[in-house]
Symmetry: C2
Subunit: 300 residues, 2 copies
């Protein structure tokens, strides 16, 4: 007997594709959907279900929404072709995009009205961990939502932080994490290029700073990209104007000034405007290098 | 036979006092000097030499300068009562303050003219590590300066990064590290208080974020102070307007814009202006809390 679970993954970008692969690997009957038909066909060739959306949606146990933002999440759930009204009672929505906590609470309320569980479940970890079923998920929702989502979480996540029994808490923690992660990437780029103006090479920076009080998880993960001159996007520059924008939006609604996050957002926005939006987010260093007339390391 | 080495430690603040204690513990004949006579007497009661400055200075093998900044360093070395002209040939100066790299190069040149070695040796690690002889030192200088300084380094440091054969490289790396460390402390405070506006408690922040991509060395070290409501100064707020000021000064001289460091400096300067300059640097969170009407955790 195969695994009886059936899920639909909406959004087959770098994160969603990896999540869908991890679900498949766990023996789950997985349907992948995306506006890019080529990605859908690629996933079907990888072993994904060939069932059409209209047929699949009435029988899936869970839908995993791995889109860019709140607007896309709402469109998938309740838009013109929104899936929630077609889901069976007791199905669960795992909403993985970074969204404002208040939006998560609204979506949960609307899902509940349709007899559908909603797990506020923003993800963290990057595309490699997504493909390996090793994501971190900052989850909150009703105990029933957790129970319904458990087999899916087991397939796609290494770590599930259970942050409370109502939607919103997961997204709040995700926003806190994104504030830090975005600032740390931009600060790494600022410090590394500042060092170059003072005779500190990228390689020397990489050798010393990870052993010092100035280190961060993001520094250790991203600084090697700059030292290697490799901007293959694991997570792209364009993530950050979006995620730090969400942070600043909800901060603003709470009358909370976040000047460091704002400064970091400016640098990512400048990198995006300069044409680096699709590159690895470490390419924010190019903005610093260009403004100071520095030459960054080339690929070897 | 006792250890034949004799050193003078100039500046018996929280870092200098610990360094002097570590030298004593290593069996070094250690003289401590400070403008605060009470600190000098305390150190003598702890086992420090009672020799007067004018007598000691002509016979010490090394002087360790643990003052606040470049101006105080220059005053100790070459001011009205500056020690360098009185040092014996072949003695070594260990200059531990955070100073601009160009200043370190100037001091080294002037010391060389007196036949005295100069080790550019900014320190990192905090007062506890200073007292335990476990500092990290970002050192650069001539091979002869390293050789002369070695027994002192062995007594006071756990890690000595050897960053090159001329003064300046150590201070450059220190500036890079301070940029990151200062930004990370302020970003931690920003994220933690932002989280409070979204229902993320200080304790929940501490439980989750150190396991996530948003973590940093400084976050893990300082966030517990806020969660505990304990602002006993291990390293004080007032360090940061100074050290980030040095970073921005030398960045400016290189026409390098450092907007994230500038934003962090503003927050520390605001904390200092508000009367928190002598508290632990995690007290920068109070600026965020006050501007957003939040109540930080009280001591339990």
């Amino acid at each position: 007997m195969g695994n009886p679970l059936k899920v639909g993954v909406f959004g087959l970008g770098s994160m969603g594709y990896g999540i869908a692969q991890s679900a498949l690997r766990a023996g789950i009957n997985t349907c992948g959907f995306d506006v890019a038909q080529a990605q859908v066909e690629r996933f079907q060739a990888d072993g994904g279900s060939k069932e059409k959306l209209a047929d699949a949606v009435t029988s899936v146990d869970a839908v995993i929404i791995v889109v860019l933002n709140a607007a896309q999440t709402e469109s998938v759930l309740f838009g013109e072709h929104g899936v929630v009204p077609s889901l069976k009672k007791g199905a669960v929505v795992l909403a993985c995009a970074t969204v404002p906590p208040e939006f998560a609470r609204q979506m949960a309320k609307q899902c509940t009205e349709h007899g559908v569980h909603y797990l506020d479940s923003p993800i963290s970890g990057g595309s490699v961990k997504a493909a390996n079923g090793q994501l971190s998920i900052m989850a909150s929702g009703t105990p029933a939502a957790f129970t319904a989502a458990r087999p899916v979480l087991d397939a796609i996540a290494e770590t599930v932080f259970e942050l409370g029994d109502s939607a919103g808490a997961g997204s709040a923690m995700k926003a806190v994490n994104q504030l830090l992660a975005g600032v740390h990437i931009a600060a790494m780029a600022e410090a590394m290029t500042f060092g170059m103006t003072q005779g500190v090479s990228a390689d020397k920076f990489l050798e010393i700073i990870p052993k010092c009080a100035g280190t961060s998880w993001m520094l250790e993960n991203r600084a090697p990209h700059i030292a290697a001159g490799d901007y293959t996007p694991h997570s792209s520059v364009d993530i950050w104007p979006k995620d730090l924008g969400i942070v600043l939006d909800i901060a603003g609604q709470a009358n909370f000034p976040a000047p460091i996050a704002a400064a970091a957002l400016q640098q990512f926005a400048a990198a995006s405007s300069a044409g680096y939006g699709g590159e690895d987010d470490a390419a924010v260093a190019k903005i610093y290098a260009e403004s100071a007339g520095l030459t960054l390391p080339e690929p070897t």
